[in-house]
Symmetry: C2
Subunit: 260 residues, 2 copies
């Protein structure tokens, strides 16, 4: 510790005792530089936090990639505590709400979960592909999906188990296609998800629909079959908005991509 203090001390002595003009010049430059750097960092942080809020509140027009200047910000958020804390909070709030219903035992109360970035995390893939900086590449992403190794989002797994324990029927409603059913089931089971009631994937009929249309239609079917959609968890607003909306929706964070 003394070495550290001495280093500061000795580096300051020449400045403190030298001529007013030259010393203020010498010390002023790095200080101003550091202040500018801090200001730039603060501005980037402010700008990217604002961008993230706009994205998460569905205020942005459809976007394909994240702003270039927010690349580090988004990576830091995803790899740091920010994302974990946010995902945990969504799960906790959903658990409180789920527990507030007294099931009447008719098996008609359902909870819908999206899969990607809701139950399973594709962060290992996106870390290799710019975390939103690269335009989404279907064929590359499909190869990742076909590995079947996407890990569970731990707080979502807890919520999943809780709603099953509470007696809700769980419907998995995903934008993944039918040809990925087997690997998706395998991946989900390996990640700890079991006992869902139905897994709905995009059939060839759904191919040209937006996610909002496709998921709305599927929810409408559920309502027609007499189900009460009590909760819906998804990382995209297209999981949550549209027709036959859930009584409560839970938006998980996703600053990497946007699906209309």
């Amino acid at each position: 510790m003394r070495i550290f203090v001495n280093l500061i001390l000795f580096s300051l002595i020449p400045l403190a005792f030298s001529n007013e003009n030259s010393s203020s010049y010498l010390i002023a430059r790095p200080l101003i530089f550091e202040t500018q750097l801090k200001n730039i960092n603060d501005n980037v942080n402010l700008h990217c936090t604002s961008w993230r809020f706009a994205a998460e509140t569905n205020n942005l027009a459809p976007w394909k990639t994240i702003p270039v200047e927010c690349a580090d910000y988004v990576k830091d958020y995803l790899m740091g505590e920010g994302y974990v804390v946010d995902v945990e909070r969504v799960s906790e709030e959903a658990k409180v709400y789920a527990s507030s219903f007294e099931s009447n035992g008719d098996g008609k109360d359902i909870w819908i979960f999206d899969i990607d970035e809701t139950l399973l995390s594709n962060l290992p893939y996106y870390m290799e592909h710019g975390c939103g900086l690269e335009v989404f590449d279907h064929s590359k992403f499909d190869k990742w999906v076909e590995k079947g190794i996407a890990p569970a989002i731990a707080p979502s797994l807890k919520l999943y188990q809780k709603v099953i324990d509470l007696g809700y029927k769980v419907i998995l409603l995903t934008g993944r296609r039918e040809n990925h059913r087997v690997i998706t089931v395998e991946n989900l089971r390996n990640a700890g998800f079991h006992n869902w009631d139905k897994l709905i994937l995009r059939s060839s009929n759904d191919r040209n629909k937006t996610a909002t249309m496709y998921k709305s239609e599927k929810r409408e079917d559920m309502v027609k079959e007499g189900y009460r959609i009590r909760g819906n968890s998804g990382d995209q607003w297209s999981d949550l908005l549209g027709s036959a909306m859930s009584e409560r929706s839970f938006k998980l964070p996703n600053p990497m991509y946007y699906i209309p």
Copy 2:
């Protein structure tokens, strides 16, 4: 500058030249304390950003006051650049979207605006009442409303003028009650808002409805009258969700209060 450097220098000298054990002990305590303080600040910042994210994405159960530990965070956000940047972004995104329509000139394209914390700011009131830390007090707030001095939210005024210039009809749909019509009109005009098509306030029939119900019913009426609700700007999800929803909704930030 030299005075500043000398102050640092002289405060460090006794530590640098004193005995190893005592100096490391003396210097270690404030450093550890500062690190702890920084960690506490970082944690509060992380926690309150996460809370704000959950509030703005409608993930929280109905809440009455902000978390006590986030009081300074919310105030700093509102009084600092954060709120301004966020409000400007919502306005800019809405303008881009509003401009994307080619009006067919039938006068049926409408844009709905909420009033409080959307067009007019009650920050002068909330600054005196804890910025969300105090439970909402109707009679105190009414007295503030009756002064009619709430300032315009500048970026919202720009959006307002833009959508009128583009040929949209503007509907103001507010939770304020009919008995505040005169003062509300006066306040709006003084703040620069003119040429709206309709100002809808809560009548006595609407008193026991949630904001979501009341605003949904009013939107349903508009749709029945043949209007196309192209855009809707509000700081509460109860301004935006429900039935007869707008084609695009724009959620302004409001970390101070929640209206169901």
